[in-house]
Symmetry: C2
Subunit: 343 residues, 2 copies
DNA sequence: CACCGGCACGAGAGCGCTCTCACGAGGGGA
DNA sequence: TCCCCTCGTGAGAGCGCTCTCGTGCCGGTG
């Protein structure tokens, strides 16, 4: 019989406005929470939106606002790291959640090689995203330099290497955490406290070591004797622990700079016949929810709330995008000691 | 008020056309590789694009073509799985790479809970993406049902549960792989071949078991005696191997349905004092590049090329999006045995 | 009573692109 | 010679949204 104009098509703002008996402009005002709308109009539009199941057309909005509604999440990290370390999966998950909470699309960029870097730069320069969250902890990483010449707001996780001038970042108090962990071991009466460190080309690993060092009052020579790099991997942690055991047979406590390495360290201690915590007290770092509670014995660990960190990064970036005043370029989140059975 | 975000005035197609001395329509034709363009016009436009550093405005294009240029990658999987199993990181990486190769944005959706599912459904229904790649292997997963009522092209990895009618999927020949592995063990002269399976609420685990079963000619009772579920986790693999060792002391070979579990099984065998491959031959599954070559001894494994699978999924989905004729709704990729030291 | 400022709202102009359509030039068949 | 295709091209109409302006109405002020 008669033609149905928009029966199958997705409703547009025009349809909503018509149904609500207002103009498109007013409907738009309601959707964008403009204050200059009468309560009646507001209610009518809201009702029409619900009734029609209206969803704003993202492309049309992006076209006029010059905002894509998407941000890039960039990991610059050698490939094995990303796959070994559950920390990364956790970061990705946190980012996915934080961003979908605020209705922003996440575009994941994994940079393993120079070609990846070039591709990422092209993408970021292409105007596909409004901003970026960057994870580039390693010394010598090109990403910060690349990002610097892009007209794109960026928030870093932790301190990248190179000049910090003008950078926005959200870090954890790694040094404070190192102190916390070590002082806890001291308060337990431990006398010979060693440390398995992360790779020292990352500030976070460096800071944790600095925390341990200041708490035990270690000299340069002590550092060489009492610490070993475990590379932030499980196997590395095991190897480093074994090395320390060989070098410092009378050790009675160890601060391990990540839970994953701590899991490896526990393996090494077990194989060496040392009881935890009776013979050797162990404190990890991260309080990773998939690791710390599940080791045997459960791991005492310095908590850094990663999902909170990512949430802060997102909030910070959104504020940057809205050109709101920024309280501080750099945020440092606190770390807390979570006690379990290992120390 | 109206401050331009990146006021360095990105060139538009109009600018390109002006510089090339043609109309916007012709410039657009060149960019979209239309055949109806003279060589001279083509060259002039191409030169202008390069000179101006022109990048098409994605939003404007999306608005008129009604294509977002983005697709969703959805993982429906309990949370620990995603973080334990390097297979997932590998899948995510493969997807990220395959999609950026074809210049499509990837939106990652992780579904762990009913709320996540609702959120994902809303997102997918919201027209933010042109299609979706789905990883939902578990029995009882709601995702396929949700996807079915969405007007969105979807390609699955492996066979989801529930009716397959109308679904597009790219699977591996898991059963064939199981046969391959087991026949290899038989050809080695092994007589007592057991299997550590994956969770049998996944078709892939089921199929691998079926392959083993048909190769050894196992009865129902044999299955109960000679196989054990390792849950696709490393610890699970270790536990399952230990259980089999206790139940079938004279076993001389094992087919383990994933490399991660196989790594655990090797631990169990080592702890039990069995030499690999002398006492017990071990074949894994996945040929995971981060695991199989690095176990001791290196793992003989059935290769399933995950990145190839994802690439096929992407190709298939793009074909769906272009409404090109599809050869087959379901693709089954071959599996190959990769020999190393463990069998 | 005239005036003015504030407020809610509508008209309409784009944002940058694709795609339809119409048009002129050139070539081949009648 | 004329007609009709074909082919390359340009003009222009939107896609669905935001946002600036202008307008009419209200209450408060001089």
């Amino acid at each position: 019989m008669s033609v149905q104009p928009h029966s199958s098509a997705r409703p547009t703002l025009e349809d909503v406005a018509a149904k609500a008996g207002v103009s498109r402009a007013t409907a738009s005002r309601v959707l964008n929470a403009s204050p200059r709308v009468s309560p009646e109009a507001h209610e009518a539009v809201t009702a029409a939106v619900v009734e029609l199941g209206y969803q704003p057309n993202h492309a049309a909005r992006a076209l006029v606002t010059r905002r894509t509604g998407a941000i890039a999440v960039v990991f610059s990290e050698p490939e094995p790291k990303i796959f070994d370390d559950p920390h990364f999966a956790w970061l990705i998950r946190s980012a996915a959640r934080s961003l979908s909470d605020v209705d922003v699309q996440m575009v994941l960029l994994l940079v393993h090689s120079p070609e990846d870097m070039a591709r990422a730069e092209r993408f970021l320069a292409g105007g596909h995203v409004d901003g970026a969250l960057m994870f580039a902890p390693h010394k010598g990483d090109q990403l910060p330099a690349v990002a610097r010449r892009l007209p794109l707001p960026v928030v870093y996780a932790g301190r990248p290497w190179g000049p910090l001038r003008g950078l926005h970042l959200v870090d954890h108090d790694n040094e404070g955490g190192g102190v916390l962990a070590t002082e806890h071991l001291i308060s337990l009466g431990r006398k010979r406290i060693v440390s398995v460190t992360g790779p020292l080309d990352e500030h976070s690993a460096m800071d944790r070591l600095t925390g341990w060092r200041s708490a035990v009052g270690a000299s340069e020579a002590d550092v060489a004797l009492l610490t070993e790099d475990g590379g932030f991997s499980r196997d590395g942690g095991k190897r480093a622990m074994a090395a320390l055991l060989a070098r410092v047979p009378d050790l009675d406590a160890v601060f391990v700079a990540s839970d994953l390495m701590a899991a490896g360290a526990l393996d090494a201690l077990r194989e060496a016949g040392r009881r935890v915590p009776e013979d050797v007290a162990v404190v990890g770092f991260d309080d990773h929810p998939m690791i710390a509670p599940h080791t045997s014995p459960p791991l005492t660990s310095v908590q850094q709330d990663t999902s909170n960190q990512v949430k802060h990064m997102v909030t910070h970036l959104l504020r940057l995008l809205r050109e709101e005043p920024i309280k501080a370029r750099r945020e440092v989140l606190p770390t807390v000691l979570v006690r379990r059975a290992s120390a």
